[in-house]
């Protein structure tokens, strides 16, 4: 029971932090915000690595590897494209 309360606490506090920070992001950066936060949501990769590495059953390994591929596309692609966009917003002088 205690661990449930702990993770719930973290969850609720993180949502509040998210709201506080993201309301301050200017509209001009909303597209990079989406692609960047998208890359962050690829954090599922952590779980994917564990399933793929455990190799408990063939099925879990297959699921794990698929998840690694999906999440890595999300992470690598997301950060790269966000970087590409943000570079364009930097003043060139």
């Amino acid at each position: 029971m205690e661990s449930v309360v702990m993770v719930l606490t973290v969850f609720v506090l993180a949502i509040f932090v998210g709201f506080e920070i993201i309301t301050k992001v200017p509209p001009t950066l909303h597209t990079p915000l989406m692609s960047g936060s998208n890359a962050v949501s690829g954090i599922t990769l952590i779980g994917a690595l564990l399933s793929a590495g455990h190799q408990m059953t063939t099925l879990t390994t297959v699921l794990g590897v698929l998840a690694v591929v999906f999440a890595t596309i999300n992470v690598v692609g997301g950060f790269m494209v966000t970087h590409r966009m943000l570079k364009m917003f930097q003043k060139k002088d």
């Binding site: 973290v10 599922t44 994917a48 999440a71 690598v76 692609g77 950060f79 917003f89």
Partner: protein, 461 residues
């Protein structure tokens, strides 16, 4: 490595994620912020790889290599105009990963033979359901933006009932999994139900409502990741997931507000012209003044302020570089040029800003609606490029499909030049009296061709 050290390192990663997002609050710090987030991800991945539960690295390395390659190719090849569909497809992959991870965790949990807690089973069901909705919903959104599926809002008879039915079936399956997680088959049934739900929720949404859907799917992908965090009792997943979830929800709210519609209305409502909407002939008959590039070039003579209003038509025609050339030319003649960006212009939040940034337009010339609206009356010329509903003055009146939607007050400018291929209505399907106004000139052409011809005309004059 002991569990506490691993968790401490995850804490460092979480803090970096938060600092990374904080960096995005200003264009100057944004690049650094993104690097912080990337670093956070790298730290989290490396620490996880050191976990002793991992017995083989081969499959992991293959997965990482394949994923990196696909992700990198997509990121490098994509054109800025295609950014909405890229974000859509990335969202989908994130959701899909959550489905697989939660499924694998359920199978492993059962194989260990321990009693599964409610926290675990509820989180598994949530990851599976939300992840599946995100996956297929994003695929449909991608298809619509890419033009593979019709962009029109597609509404079949009985669709609402079907949605409710699939929704109820999903909830029932989720409850069953929570009560009795031993039947693994049920998890896959839940994933199938969620996948159908994702398709049916997204397929009726089209055109100008796409920004809302993409923002919402963005939020789902975060919530799915957070749910997976509850499955694995992993704080960094929960923190990163909820940050993304919050971000998507905020963007969804901003988009809905900019259209004066509720989220329920976007997802389930029907946007259609009311009975007494005047037809096109009544509004346009004999009042449309078609113009030529030369005539527009003459308007710029003696002008001191010009406001450019970009819309989705600019993205479709890839006219951002031409527009910037025109602006530079006008600025060379001492004219102040600014850009008025409506929050829902384009197909995703901030779409126009990215396109103009690509064409090297400085970000402080891109003005938000509330900031630029009071200045339209001081503008000599407002150039509307491929925008329609967001500049339709009937939004100020009662009883139209877009009533109450905040619009850009372009009609207050001394002259309005509208670059558009035809008089076809925008997404709301209603005529736009702006096109028939006394101070409006219509330049019928593709956005890029029109602007290019305009540049030539200005140079000649």
């Amino acid at each position: 490595m002991s569990l506490s050290i691993v968790n401490l390192i995850y804490l460092v990663a979480s803090v970096l994620f938060i600092l990374g997002l904080k960096g995005l609050t200003h264009p100057r710090t944004a690049v650094r912020g993104n690097i912080y987030s990337g670093l956070a991800m790298l730290i989290a991945v490396v620490v996880t790889l050191l976990d002793q539960r991992i017995i083989s690295y081969e499959m992991i390395l293959i997965g990482l290599a394949v994923g990196s390659l696909i992700g990198a190719i997509l990121a490098i090849k994509i054109q800025m105009t295609g950014m909405p569909q890229l974000v859509a497809i990335y969202n989908g992959f994130g959701g899909g990963a959550s489905v697989f991870v939660a499924g694998a965790a359920l199978i492993e949990g059962l194989a260990m033979g321990e009693a599964l807690s409610y926290q675990f089973t509820i989180a598994v069901a949530a990851s599976g359901l939300i992840g599946a909705v995100t996956f297929t919903g994003s695929l449909v959104a991608w298809g619509k933006l890419q033009g593979v599926i019709s962009e029109d809002s597609l509404r079949l008879p009985g669709q609402q009932a079907l949605k409710v039915l699939i929704g109820l079936a999903s909830v029932a399956l989720a409850v069953w999994i929570v009560i009795d997680p031993t039947i693994i088959r049920n998890y896959w049934f839940l994933v199938i139900a969620g996948s159908l739900l994702g398709v049916f929720l997204t397929i009726p949404i089209g055109g100008a409502d796409m920004p809302v859907v993409i923002a919402l799917l963005n939020s789902y992908s975060g919530i799915a990741a957070a749910a997976t965090g509850f499955v694995l009792e992993n704080n960094v997943l929960i923190i990163a997931g909820s940050l993304v979830g919050a971000s998507g929800i905020i963007l969804t709210q901003i988009m809905c507000k900019a259209m004066n519609r509720t989220l329920t209305n976007v997802l389930f409502g029907v946007l259609q012209p009311s009975e007494d909407t005047p037809n096109q002939d009544e509004v346009y008959e004999g009042k449309i003044k078609s113009t030529s590039p030369d005539e527009v070039a003459m308007l710029f003579d003696g002008a001191s302020r010009v406001i450019i209003v970009p819309g989705y038509g600019l993205a479709v025609a890839q006219a951002q570089h031409a527009v910037r050339d025109l602006a530079t030319l006008l600025e060379g003649r001492g004219i102040i040029v600014e850009y008025a960006i409506h929050p829902v212009a384009g197909r995703m939040p901030g779409h126009m800003n990215v396109l103009l940034a690509e064409a090297n337009v400085e970000y402080d010339k891109l003005k938000e609606m509330d900031e630029i609206n009071p200045t339209f009356r001081e503008a000599d010329v407002a150039i509307v490029i491929g925008a329609n509903d967001v500049v339709n003055p009937v939004a100020r009146e009662e009883g139209t499909p877009i009533s109450g939607m905040p619009i850009l007050d372009v009609d207050m400018a001394r002259f309005v030049v509208v670059i558009k291929r035809s008089l076809s209505p925008g997404f709301a399907g209603i005529p736009n009296p702006l096109f028939a106004a006394d101070n409006t000139l219509m330049l019928f052409n593709d956005a890029k061709k029109a602007v290019t011809e305009l540049i030539a005309a200005v140079k000649d004059s």
